[in-house]
């Protein structure tokens, strides 16, 4: 990049921000609401053929014979590709056996139905909830960690020891837009790929090597995506097959997964189950010791929840002994799922800690406050705990565990805490200022629905003294300069840094052009509300349009990169968050309702609080979903997934989520603690940090804790469905 010479890229301070930190509507909101936004699913090309998969109906099987002749004989079926043929071992229900490409979707389905496959059905494992029942050959060690001396800590007379088992099942991403692709060859060696992806710039290379053309010959387009959540980074089988078969047939090929196939094959979140023993000091309420055996599955490869997240956040517990196992199960393979490992970590840790607090007989809020120094960011968590407690009216509604009333409806409160990285990814941005005054911003990024377009428009508008709608943001095309994949909450830090630098670079060039006509040095100029103004004499100014007319024939192009070793950092990483749930449990039906849910979140300098808050709402709703409803249900006999649909793979509707309160920590915040200390944190200071993932981490634990508080007993496994709630109550000895 051209190093800024007289303008600083530093984010303007609070008093000098026009757009940053202000609520701005999504620039593509109207497009989405009216259907003008085109998703991969909406792409239909002339003479396009459709592909449909035959999937394996068994959890574990060997393909003995496969006969595709009847499919091939159907008029209109153009290609039958065997993906896993005779002799192949299939490891989960839903894995692809064959692909049929035909003139229409219906014909492709007819083709799929007429393929005959004979399987040898093999033994399966689909239930990993009971560690003792898992055959040894299905277990792989997942690590061991020790610190201090847990036994000594547990045995000390001042220690209260609390034991429990906790679990969080495998779930899927359930992207509303299924995975899929349209592949079209412009010529023998030039391919255009419309693909639903979180990885526009990184896609072409992956596909190009598979179809043996230069990477630059593959153009990837994804303007809008209907959800990815970590499951859409690669081209997948369908991407590669669509590209290959489109070339062979010399016509565009579209493959979109059906809902069942999407839920079966396109990614799962690993399960996590843990037997946990916690030791707390009876006097001080401090956590002294943690012992855990963790196990879980991420599919046939094992890879359950990582040992690194138990205990979660409270990593400073002085005595620890933990071990983990990975279970190789015949279930859909894992993919990164929004904040990989963290929701499991929270669900297994915050629950065990809350049980310790209840056993001690102390207020859960007080307990977490007492123990924040076992985390990496005690000040932030203290502030966030206190802010959240205010918003949920903790003092008013809290009661000791189980004292949630007499009638059938019992209320309770629960807490959870989380962290995330959110470092900026690599990104390059070009800002073009045209002689007519229009501004184009180009980056090979993508907007997962988080508001990326809007944020880029705001940053460039802020930098150039324009309004966001005057900035034309172009993303979603691999022809634009490369940006990282949108995973790990890395996007906003990456694209805001690169677009800030690119816009600054472009502006410098513009100021250099126009300075002589105003009769000042470029460094004496600034932008303000559509004008270029002499800092020393604001009456000397020209409008943006007038200024741009002096550009000449070719547009000015500013270039910005993240990282930029020559420039100060504009983004960083590391956030905290606290969530609290207020629930009502019907102890006669086991049904849990959310009354109010508070999410307090920091994420550095917030560019658009409106879309940031939307991210928090979305994360919390997704969290309520896995806390109360979502699970992949497998049949013990056949090993099949029983609910690859949206009828029994349950997600909440608006009526189920209760009142959501998203509170963002912004700017300099001072909070007074109950013991009279004053804590001040400047949340803007670290620069921009990503946010997509953290809000989804805590709901499982917060809601589970609230339910335990309401009914007086822990429901050990999520989701908190009526059967589980009633079973826990029955174990306790009937109705609460």
């Amino acid at each position: 990049m051209l190093k800024p010479r007289f303008l600083s890229t530093a984010w303007p301070d609070r008093d000098h921000r026009v757009w940053i930190g202000h609520e701005v509507d999504r620039v593509d909101g109207v497009l989405k609401a009216t259907g003008l936004a085109k998703y991969t699913y909406d792409i239909n090309r002339p003479n396009m053929a459709w592909g449909k998969f035959l999937i394996c109906p068994h959890a574990h099987a060997r393909v003995k014979r496969i006969d595709v002749s009847r499919a091939e004989a159907i008029p209109g079926v153009r290609k039958v590709e065997i993906i896993q043929g005779e002799g192949e071992e299939i490891l989960f229900h839903g894995d692809e056996i064959a692909l049929v490409v035909a003139d229409s979707e219906e014909l492709a389905r007819d083709g799929v139905r007429s393929i005959r496959v004979e399987y040898e059905v093999l033994d399966h494992l689909v239930d990993e909830r009971n560690l003792d029942a898992i055959p040894r050959d299905r277990l792989r060690p997942g690590g061991r960690r020790r610190r201090g001396n847990v036994n000594q800590a547990f045995e000390a007379p001042t220690t209260l020891v609390v034991e429990g088992e906790y679990g969080i099942p495998m779930i899927t991403h359930c992207c509303l837009e299924a995975h899929g692709v349209v592949a079209e060859w412009e010529s023998e060696d030039r391919l255009t790929l419309w693909i639903s992806t979180q990885n526009v710039s990184g896609m072409s290379g992956q596909v190009a090597s598979a179809v043996e053309v230069p990477a630059g010959n593959v153009r990837t387009i994804c303007e809008f995506i209907g959800g990815g959540f970590g499951s859409k980074f690669g081209p997948d089988r369908w991407g590669i097959l669509a590209a290959r078969i489109a070339r062979e047939l010399r016509r565009p090929v579209k493959i979109m997964l059906d809902r069942d196939h999407e839920l079966l094959t396109a990614g799962t979140r690993p399960s996590g189950f843990a037997r946990v023993k916690v030791g707390v000091d009876r006097e001080t309420g401090k956590v002294l010791a943690w012992q855990s055996t963790l196990w879980g599955t991420g599919g046939p490869g094992g890879n359950g929840t990582s040992i690194s997240v138990t205990p979660y956040i409270f990593t400073g517990i002085p005595n620890q002994s933990r071990e983990a196992y990975n279970v190789r199960a015949n279930v859909g393979p894992r993919r990164a799922w929004r904040a990989p490992n963290h929701p499991q970590g929270a669900a297994l840790t915050m629950t065990a800690l809350a049980d310790a607090a209840a056993a001690l007989g102390i207020d859960e809020l007080e307990f977490f406050l007492k123990n924040v120094d076992l985390t990496d960011r005690p000040d932030v968590y203290t502030q966030e705990l206190l802010v959240a407690a205010d918003l949920i009216q903790w003092r008013k509604h809290w009661h000791p565990r189980g004292e949630g009333g007499r009638g059938p409806i019992r209320e309770g409160l629960g807490i959870s805490m989380h962290t995330w990285g959110g470092r900026p990814h690599n990104s390059e941005c070009h800002v073009h200022i045209h002689p007519d005054g229009s501004v184009d911003v180009q980056l090979g990024s993508q907007d997962l629905g988080t508001g990326t377009r809007t944020v880029i428009a705001m940053v460039v508008a802020e930098t150039l003294g324009l309004r966001p709608e005057q900035v034309n943001v172009q993303i979603g095309d691999s022809r634009f300069p490369p940006s990282g994949a949108s995973g790990g909450s890395t996007t906003v830090g990456g694209v805001s840094s690169s677009s800030r630098r690119a816009a600054t670079d472009a502006l410098e060039q513009l100021l250099e052009k126009v300075a002589p006509s105003i009769g000042v040095r470029p460094a004496d100029l600034k932008v303000s509300q559509g004008f270029i103004v002499d800092k020393n004499d604001p009456s000397r100014r020209i409008s943006w349009k007038q200024a741009c007319r002096q550009i000449g024939m070719n547009p000015i192009t500013g270039v910005g990169r993240q990282p930029d070793p020559e420039d100060q950092p504009l983004a960083s990483q590391g956030v905290g968050g606290v969530q609290m749930a207020h629930v009502a449990v019907d102890v006669e039906t086991g049904i849990v309702r959310i009354k109010r849910f508070v999410a307090v979140q920091d994420c550095g300098l917030i560019i658009n609080p409106k879309t940031a808050r939307s991210q928090v709402y979305g994360g919390v709703i997704m969290g309520i979903a896995y806390a109360l409803y979502e699970e992949c249900i497998h049949d013990p006999i056949t090993g099949r997934r029983l609910n690859p649909d949206m009828e029994f793979y349950k997600l909440p509707g608006v009526g189920d989520v209760g009142e959501l309160i998203a509170h963002l920590m912004m700017g300099k915040v001072t909070v007074r603690t109950p013991d009279g200390r004053e804590i001040t944190v400047d949340y803007d200071e670290p620069g921009v940090i990503g946010l997509g993932e953290p809000p989804v981490i805590s709901p499982g634990a917060a809601i589970s804790n609230a339910v335990a508080n309401a009914i007086g007993v822990r429901v050990p496994h999520l989701p908190l469905t009526p059967d589980r709630v009633l079973a826990a109550l029955a174990q306790k000895g009937g109705l609460a």
């Binding site: 049904i591 029983l642 189920d656 469905t721 079973a727």
Partner: protein, 322 residues
């Protein structure tokens, strides 16, 4: 979905003529909210689909002094909006309103609700209505049966999906079936039966019969339904109870109690009815009736909880009447 012929007759008689002697010959199409999924999932594959949409005579609600007759094509939404139904049969309105998706309420019809096929996940995945495994034995008792029957019958472990059926059965309603042989009336209570094979249907309607209407006698019973579902939207009830009573001189003189979503047909809780008879409807009696309602339940490995839900539904349905 397999290719099929489509017909859209204008009268019931024409519709009947388009039906065949087996279920594979033709299926009737009303709102299509169930039939289309069944066809897409290849659970049914009729050669012909006969739409009822043009038959306006099936869209009427008629009230006489003795009976309220609801045409088979009346939608759930229309049912909840009809003042003559709301006033007399709140039980039915709650059941229809409980179909918790506005889209389905606007498309789904009374006839379709009664004739919809069970949602058993084994049935929908192609294992047949009796969910038969590769070894010829039923899968449900060994499998995941959290949503299945606590009052199974024979090898039938699915639950009757219709929410209207228990409410109608409690109200002593009948369905009117029309075939080439003419019309017959079957009490809703007897409309469902237990299939002996995967080829048989779970209702007594024959392939050549059209369900033309439901008739509810105008007997002035106090009635109520209570449904238990986990989510507010787009969810199936886990258990429901529909009750219809006559109270005379402070005492219950007739009582009908039906449970929904816990058995392959609307389950008549006769023990609960007996408990209620001859006594005032008070809290104590209601609690006893709720317990009695689930006497004899035979829950499976994963649906014990539904026993309590059914009892709770009975308790709450009855309590809403005092």
């Amino acid at each position: 979905m397999r290719p099929f012929e489509y017909a859209s007759p204008a009268t019931v008689q024409e519709a009947i003529d388009l039906l065949g002697p087996t279920w594979n010959d033709a299926e009737l199409l009303a709102g299509g909210t169930d039939l289309l999924s069944l066809m897409k999932d290849d659970v049914v594959a009729p050669k012909r689909v006969v739409s009822l949409r043009r038959i306006t005579s099936l869209k009427r609600i008629e009230v006489t002094p003795t009976v309220v007759r609801i045409g088979a094509l009346v939608t759930m939404e229309e049912l909840t909006q009809a003042p003559e139904v709301a006033a007399k049969f709140p039980s039915l309105v709650i059941a229809a309103g409980g179909v918790t998706s506005p889209q389905i309420r606007h498309h789904g019809t009374v006839g379709g609700d009664l004739c919809q096929r069970p949602r058993c996940w084994y049935f929908r995945a192609g294992y047949g209505i009796l969910a038969t495994g590769a070894d010829g034995q039923p899968l449900v008792p060994r499998g995941d049966n959290r949503y299945h029957a606590i009052f199974p019958e024979g090898n039938a472990y699915y639950v009757c999906p219709s929410s209207l059926a228990p409410a109608l059965a409690a109200l002593e309603a009948s369905v009117v079936l029309q075939s080439p042989e003419g019309e017959r009336r079957v009490p809703v209570e007897e409309f469902y039966r237990i299939p002996r094979t995967n080829e048989e249907r779970e209702y007594v309607r024959q392939p050549r019969e059209v369900l033309v209407a439901v008739e509810i006698p105008n007997t002035g019973l106090k009635n109520a339904t209570y449904e238990i579902r986990q989510r507010q939207l787009l969810d199936w009830p886990l258990a429901t109870a529909s009750v219809a009573l006559r109270v005379d001189g402070g005492k219950v003189v007739s009582a009908r109690v039906f449970l929904g979503h816990v058995a392959p047909r609307p389950y008549r809780a006769t023990a609960a009815e007996a408990t209620l008879m001859g006594a005032p409807l008070d809290e104590e009696r209601i609690a006893a009736a709720a317990r009695a309602a689930v006497q004899g339940a035979r829950p499976l490995s994963g649906n014990q909880y539904k026993v309590q839900l059914a009892a709770t539904a009975v308790k709450r349905a009855l309590s809403s009447l005092i």
